[in-house]
Structures are given as structure tokens and as C-alpha cells.
């Protein structure tokens, strides 16, 4: 038996012993997802037990080094763990922008002191982070941001406004892009870390077309951000005025995540499931709709191959560095199409905004939510610009 095979059987046994049956059900509600943080509470004992078992094992962040709360798994082992978790439909024990976004930035750019403190906090779900990038006038043109931090020696005084700050009203700390040099567009931004309870920080949820409010406006009014949180633990990541390097690195991660390159629902074929759903309602698929579903399935199955190829190539450094932009573009356009088709198959039932049948308007709310896929993390148009410039090398792009 190879090492990987024995790792697989150990993992299987561990999951069997530690993942409660209730945690092997699909996520249905927002509170099925555990985000951690200072004000977090568990929905059930099972959720708590599953989370605590994973923290102890380092499985909230399996690929991070053990010193920072991870399990130190190599890529092959991490893949086995993912496969074994998905085999039993195990829910993620902890969801967090700290894991997806800040963690990779700190692993790459952070000091040892920052890693020791922040990565461990993230792995244990103690601090819930949000991301302060976009501003009302700076969406796709992110680098035009205006939020300004005035240098006061040992700290900055930050003034300005961020928008689309996911869950800002529920988060403990923010990683935030702040302009620290007004004369230098790219090399005048600093990637700061600070507590959302710092005086001068306020948040206001934004109600969306889906009826939900996952995003906030966030206001900074004379917020004092320390340059240091102690020995070897600066209040910023990377270098002062070079936060754009960190942001660009992170956007790559974010695009990969939004593209669904790792597989899962948004790259799967849907025709068969849609047929079953219609049959349950006593109806049958309109032939033209069936044809659209078939064309969608062709695209979805082909995209899943691309996702697999992309991850294989990343592992050996064969992927073009701008390929995440292509994955993000194609994956999000596909996901929008998927939900358009699901709405069509659902018919009048899928229009119901608040009935029990639709579990509180799930189909419609999910469909509306997907419209943001090709906007958030860089619009489809920006992705196409990047492909033109960096992959196709078109002039003036």
C-alpha cells in the first residue's frame, strides 16, 4: 500500500469517527455555514463538534503548516482529503475570508510574527475577517481608490469609504487597501490590517436584488491604524506603498475561487436533475428547453475538464499566470446560464419569493445572486481585457 493509499484509509476512518451525520447534509441555510469570529455561535452541537475536531486536526486549513494551525498536508494529501470529504458530502467546518484570502497573502508576504498570530487565529476561527477593496468610484478600476491614510509616525489616520465589503457588519477585523501616497497610482497603496471596533469604523448593510444583504458600505472617519501590533507584527502586509502587489496576488486566488475551478456544483451537468425535477411535478421538458440543457451540459462538462487541466497544470507550473482570468470569465458566465436554465425548468414555482415549496425563494434568490458572479472579483469585461493583454498580447490592450 502506498503512503497515499494509507493516508486515504486513515482519513476515511477519521472522517467516519469525527464527522457527525448532520454535517453530511447539503448546506441549506446561511446558518448551516460556520464563519467563526468573536460573536459566532453554533447552530447545533454537531456543527460545534465537527468544527472542534477539525481545529484539533488542523483540517480547517489542511494545507497550512502545522506551526500556523494547519495539518501540513502536501498537495496530493490535500487532494485526497478533499475527495474523501466530498465523498461523504461533508460540510466545510469553517468558512472564512481569512482562509481564502488573507491567509494566502500572509503565507506569501507576511512576517513570522504575523503568521504566528493571525494564521493561528484564522485556523481556530477566532477572528472573522472582511475585505476592504472596492470603493463607490473604484470598482473595476480598483487602483483609482481614494480612501487615504495620513502618516502620523507610529500610525495612520484613515478616512474614506469602502463598498461591497462582504459581511462587514459581522466581521471582527478588516484587511484593507488604503492609499498612502497620492502621487503614485500603483506604488502608493498599503495593505492594512485593523480591528473593526476601532473608533471611527461604521458599517451599513446594502439590500440586494436577491433580497439579502451580504454586502455592506463601510465608513472610516479618522480611524487610527497602528503601524505595528508588537514585535515582528506590522499592521500592514508586505511593504508600505506596495500593497498593490499583495492585492494582485490575492485577486488571482479570488478569481480561482469564484471560477469554481476545483469542481463542485457550478461545473456539473444539470440536464438529468432538471428532468427528474420536472417529472416530479408531472410535467415534461419542452424539446427546445431540453436542447438548451444539452448544450449547457456539453459546455459544463467541457469546463469541468478545463478546471481539472488547469489545476493539474498549476501543480507543475505549466499554467499561464493569467489563466485564472480565463477560468473566472468562463466559469461565471457558465454559472449564470445554469441558473437561467434552472429558473426556466422550475417555471412558475421558481418565481415564488417566500413559500415553503421554494424554501423561502431559494431558486429565485440564487439566480439573482449569480448575476454578481461576472461583476465581483473583476468583471467579465476586465477578465477579457486581461486575456487580451497578457495571453494574446494584443496591441494597446
Amino acid at each position: 500500500m502506498s503512503d497515499l493509499d494509507s493516508f486515504r484509509s486513515e482519513t476515511r476512518a477519521w472522517l467516519e469517527a469525527n464527522c457527525p451525520p448532520e454535517m453530511r447534509e447539503p448546506v441549506r441555510d446561511e446558518d448551516d455555514v460556520y464563519w467563526g469570529g468573536r460573536n459566532a455561535s453554533f447552530k447545533s452541537d454537531a456543527q460545534k463538534a465537527w468544527f472542534e475536531a477539525c481545529v484539533a486536526k488542523g483540517y480547517t486549513v489542511p494545507a497550512w503548516p502545522k506551526a500556523y494551525g494547519g495539518a501540513g498536508l502536501n498537495p496530493a494529501e490535500a487532494k485526497v482529503l478533499r475527495e474523501e470529504m466530498s465523498r461523504i458530502n461533508a460540510r466545510p467546518p469553517l468558512s472564512s475570508f481569512g482562509i481564502w484570502m488573507l491567509g494566502p497573502a500572509l503565507l506569501h508576504f507576511g512576517t513570522e510574527g504575523q503568521k504566528q498570530r493571525f494564521l493561528n487565529e484564522i485556523a481556530r476561527g477566532e477572528i472573522r475577517w472582511c475585505q476592504g477593496y472596492s470603493e463607490p468610484g473604484s470598482g473595476s478600476d480598483l487602483v483609482s481608490m481614494q480612501t487615504f491614510g495620513e502618516d502620523k509616525g507610529d500610525h495612520w489616520v484613515v478616512n474614506g469609504q469602502k463598498i461591497w465589503t462582504s459581511y462587514a457588519d459581522k466581521c471582527d477585523w478588516i484587511f484593507c487597501l488604503v492609499r498612502t501616497d497620492k502621487d503614485n497610482k500603483y506604488q502608493g497603496i498599503t495593505f492594512m490590517l485593523f480591528d473593526m471596533e476601532t473608533p471611527g469604523v461604521t458599517t451599513k448593510p446594502i439590500k440586494l436584488i436577491s433580497g439579502n444583504s451580504p454586502f455592506c458600505e463601510t465608513f472610516f472617519d479618522d480611524v487610527a491604524v497602528p503601524k505595528s501590533y508588537g514585535e515582528d507584527c506590522p499592521g500592514f502586509v508586505g511593504q508600505i506603498n506596495r500593497g498593490w502587489d499583495v492585492a494582485k496576488y490575492l485577486l488571482g486566488h479570488e478569481r480561482e475561487m469564484i471560477s469554481g475551478a476545483g469542481g463542485g456544483d457550478r461545473t456539473a451537468a444539470i440536464g438529468a436533475a432538471m428532468k427528474r425535477a420536472t417529472a416530479k411535478e408531472g410535467g415534461e421538458l419542452d424539446p427546445i428547453l431540453r436542447a438548451e440543457l444539452a448544450m449547457f451540459d456539453v459546455d459544463a462538462l467541457a469546463y469541468a475538464c478545463m478546471g481539472e487541466k488547469f489545476l493539474d497544470e498549476i501543480k507543475v507550473g505549466k499554467a499561464h499566470p493569467a489563466q485564472p482570468n480565463m477560468m473566472k470569465y468562463a466559469g461565471t458566465e457558465l454559472n449564470k446560464r445554469r441558473h437561467e436554465l434552472m429558473m426556466s425548468v422550475g417555471g412558475s414555482r421558481s418565481l415564488e419569493w417566500d413559500s415553503d415549496d421554494t424554501d423561502g425563494g431559494k431558486p429565485a434568490r440564487n439566480w439573482l445572486r449569480t448575476k454578481a458572479n461576472s461583476i465581483e472579483g473583476g468583471t467579465s469585461e476586465v477578465m477579457l481585457n486581461v486575456i487580451s493583454k497578457r495571453i494574446l498580447d494584443l496591441p494597446g490592450a
Binding site: 448544450m295 467541457a302 480565463m326 470569465y329 468562463a330 481585457n385 487580451s388
Partner: protein, 379 residues
């Protein structure tokens, strides 16, 4: 297995790419034979050269003198064929017929495979019996007669039919037209009495035939595989052909796309390079994405086929359908972005559009294969 080429495959790709770009180039082959109205539609000298490189027998087992490689390797050659629009009998002979002959008796293999491997023989495959690919229906009849069979009926869209030394024919030996059982495959030699070819030149200047069989007498040993049990061989042949033509289609798409992107970097209008216009940049980037995704589907299908996976059938149809859409987009955008010059015969981009059209119809178009994806998925 990772979805990229290993070292050996990358080396093969380099050889194939260099050879097709030099020897198989459009001016040297496609235009050359087209302008001479060559009755075969391809050059036999190039076919011999392909044999010297081992390409002809890439899917032929080592025990039969071939290289014993897989569909990934055949696909590498096909992608370069597509990229250079190189006319050759590779797809019909080395992929389709070679796959059928894998199921043949030692005697049949000994009769035909040496000629294929040496580049002296060319084979064709006769499946379709109408203008659209409908292999579910086989009406062409082979009735028992003495020790052998008498073959009657007609076949359409037989690529290289008139040039072939042997044609693999799917015929009905029992049952009715749309039965799965009762189909038998035959290796029909070139000189069979009663076989007639009406040869037609297609839009891409390749040659195909409407072939009729009028009581063509065949020996019992012309049977490939089992009598009445030919559907399995036919399916294997079709799957190999679908994945192979998808690989060639990716080559056509990439050839057309590369040419178009180059043109965007050179052509000036309104005092600017047209590649500076965002309207064209976005379409070019979209095209790039579609072609890359199609390419991933093809390599996945090739690997599944080589591994003998039961998912190969579904993925072969996904690949064929996806490539048809992506390559169709590549050639249409190619001609449009070239503007007026794209409409001229002198310029190559139009040749890509013609080849793509012919490849799309070959062994089922995007609609046929999307429908198959639905059926195989249970809806």
C-alpha cells in the same frame, strides 16, 4: 492521469508540429493538390513520409508492426494536421479503419495492416446512408450466400472512398434498420465487383463518394469481428473517430485563431492597429477561452478512451460537440475579423472555414452529439 502531455508525448508533438508545418503546409499540400484537381485530394508521397515517421501505424499494435500507442498520441498528430489543413487519409485509415481492424482476425490484420503501416495503403470507412450522420440506422444489407455474403445498398459521405484500397462497411445481416443487433462490419477490397463510386469534391476540396453495392460478393473472412455482433466494433470505431476528428478540429480552431490574432496585430484601420479596439479584443479573448476549454475536453476524452473507461463515450460526444462550437466560432470570427481579405481565395483563413464545415458534419455535428449527451445522461 494529469491532463497535459508527458515528456514522450511532448516530443511527439514537437516532431509532428515541425513535420506538418514544413511538409504538410497549406501551400505545399492543400493548395497544391486542389489546384491540380487531384482525384485523391491528397498526396501519396506525404503519406509515405508519415509512414516513415511511424504516424500511419500509431494505433496499430506492435505485434502488427505498428507503434501500439493510444488516442492521445493519434490526437497529437491530428491536431497538427488540423492546424496546417494537411490533406491525408490519417483519420480514415490510421484512426477509424485501424480501430476496426483491432477487432479483426489475424488473417485480415495480416492482409491489410502492413500496407497501412508502410504507407502503401489507404482505407476508408462507410457508415452513413444519408446526408446526416445516423449510425443508429443501418439499412445496407449483407445476405448470406455460399460461404460468404452478398452486399447491397448505398453509402454516403465515404471520405477517400474512390482512393481506398479497402473500405470498412457497416451492413445489416439480420433484423430491421434500427436494430442494434444484426449489424456486421466487412472489409471490402478495392476491386470488389459490383461496387461503384460516384466521387464528389467537397467544399474543403477533399474527396468523398456516394458508393453503391450491387450484390457485391464477399468471402466469409471479410467479416471484421462477429457476424451480427458488429455494433460493438462500430461503436469503438465511431468513438475513436469522434475523438480523433475533435482533435483535428481543435487544430483547425487554433490555426484559424492564431492567424486571426496575428492579423489583429498587423492590420491598421482608422490610423490604429485593429487589435487595439476593445470590441475585437473581447471577442478574441472569448474565442481563446472557448478553444482552450474545447481542447481540455478533447484530451480528457482521449485519456478516458485509452484507459478503457466507461465514461469515454459520453466525453467523446462532449468533445465532438464542444469542438464543433468552438472551431465554428474560430473560423467565423477569423473570416469576419480579416474583413474583405478574408473573403479572397488567395488568403488562407477561408480554407479553415471550409475544413471546419466538413469536419463538423463528419461523424455527427454539435446537435447530434449534444443530443447524445442528453441521452447518455438519461434525459
Amino acid at each position: 492521469m494529469p491532463l497535459y502531455h508527458n515528456e514522450d508525448q511532448a516530443m511527439l508533438a514537437e516532431t509532428a508540429s515541425q513535420f506538418m508545418a514544413e511538409e504538410g503546409a497549406i501551400a505545399k499540400q492543400l493548395r497544391h493538390w486542389r489546384d491540380r484537381e487531384c482525384k485523391d485530394g491528397f498526396g501519396h508521397a506525404l503519406w509515405k513520409q508519415m509512414a516513415e515517421l511511424g504516424f500511419t501505424g500509431i494505433l496499430v499494435g506492435e505485434e502488427d508492426g505498428g507503434l501500439g500507442m493510444g488516442h492521445v498520441e493519434a490526437g497529437i498528430v491530428l491536431e497538427e494536421i488540423g492546424r496546417n489543413l494537411t490533406p491525408s487519409p490519417f483519420l480514415t485509415s490510421s484512426v477509424l479503419a485501424a480501430t476496426a481492424l483491432k477487432h479483426a482476425s489475424e488473417d485480415l490484420r495480416g492482409r491489410y495492416l502492413p500496407g497501412l503501416v508502410s504507407g502503401d495503403s489507404v482505407f476508408a470507412v462507410a457508415v452513413d446512408e444519408g446526408a446526416k450522420h445516423r449510425p443508429e440506422r443501418i439499412a445496407c444489407k449483407a445476405e448470406r450466400s455460399g460461404n460468404g455474403f452478398k452486399l447491397s445498398g448505398k453509402k454516403d459521405f465515404v471520405i477517400h472512398g474512390a482512393s481506398a484500397d479497402m473500405i470498412v462497411v457497416a451492413a445489416r445481416t439480420s433484423g430491421s434498420d434500427s436494430d442494434a443487433d444484426g449489424v456486421t462490419l466487412f472489409a471490402v477490397p478495392k476491386d470488389a465487383a459490383g461496387m461503384n463510386h460516384n466521387a464528389v469534391r467537397l467544399v474543403d476540396s477533399s474527396m468523398a463518394t456516394h458508393t453503391t453495392f450491387d450484390n457485391v460478393e464477399l468471402d466469409g473472412d471479410a467479416v471484421i469481428g462477429e457476424v451480427d455482433g458488429g455494433r460493438e466494433v462500430l461503436n469503438a470505431l465511431l468513438m475513436a473517430g469522434r475523438v480523433g476528428s475533435a482533435a483535428e478540429g481543435v487544430g483547425v480552431a487554433r490555426g484559424a485563431m492564431d492567424m486571426t490574432i496575428d492579423y489583429l496585430k498587423q492590420r491598421k484601420q482608422f490610423g490604429r492597429l485593429i487589435g487595439e479596439f476593445q470590441a475585437l479584443q473581447h471577442r478574441a479573448s472569448h474565442l481563446y477561452s472557448e478553444v482552450e476549454i474545447a481542447r481540455a475536453a478533447v484530451i480528457k476524452a482521449q485519456q478516458l478512451l485509452d484507459a478503457g473507461s466507461e465514461k469515454a463515450d459520453l466525453m467523446a460526444s462532449v468533445a465532438k460537440a464542444k469542438v464543433a462550437k468552438a472551431a465554428g466560432l474560430a473560423v467565423k470570427e477569423g473570416v469576419q475579423m480579416h474583413g474583405g481579405i478574408g473573403m479572397t481565395d488567395e488568403y488562407d483563413i477561408g480554407l479553415y472555414m471550409k475544413r471546419d464545415r466538413a469536419l463538423q458534419e463528419f461523424l455527427g455535428d454539435a446537435y447530434y452529439h449534444a443530443n447524445r449527451v442528453a441521452e447518455l445522461s438519461g434525459y
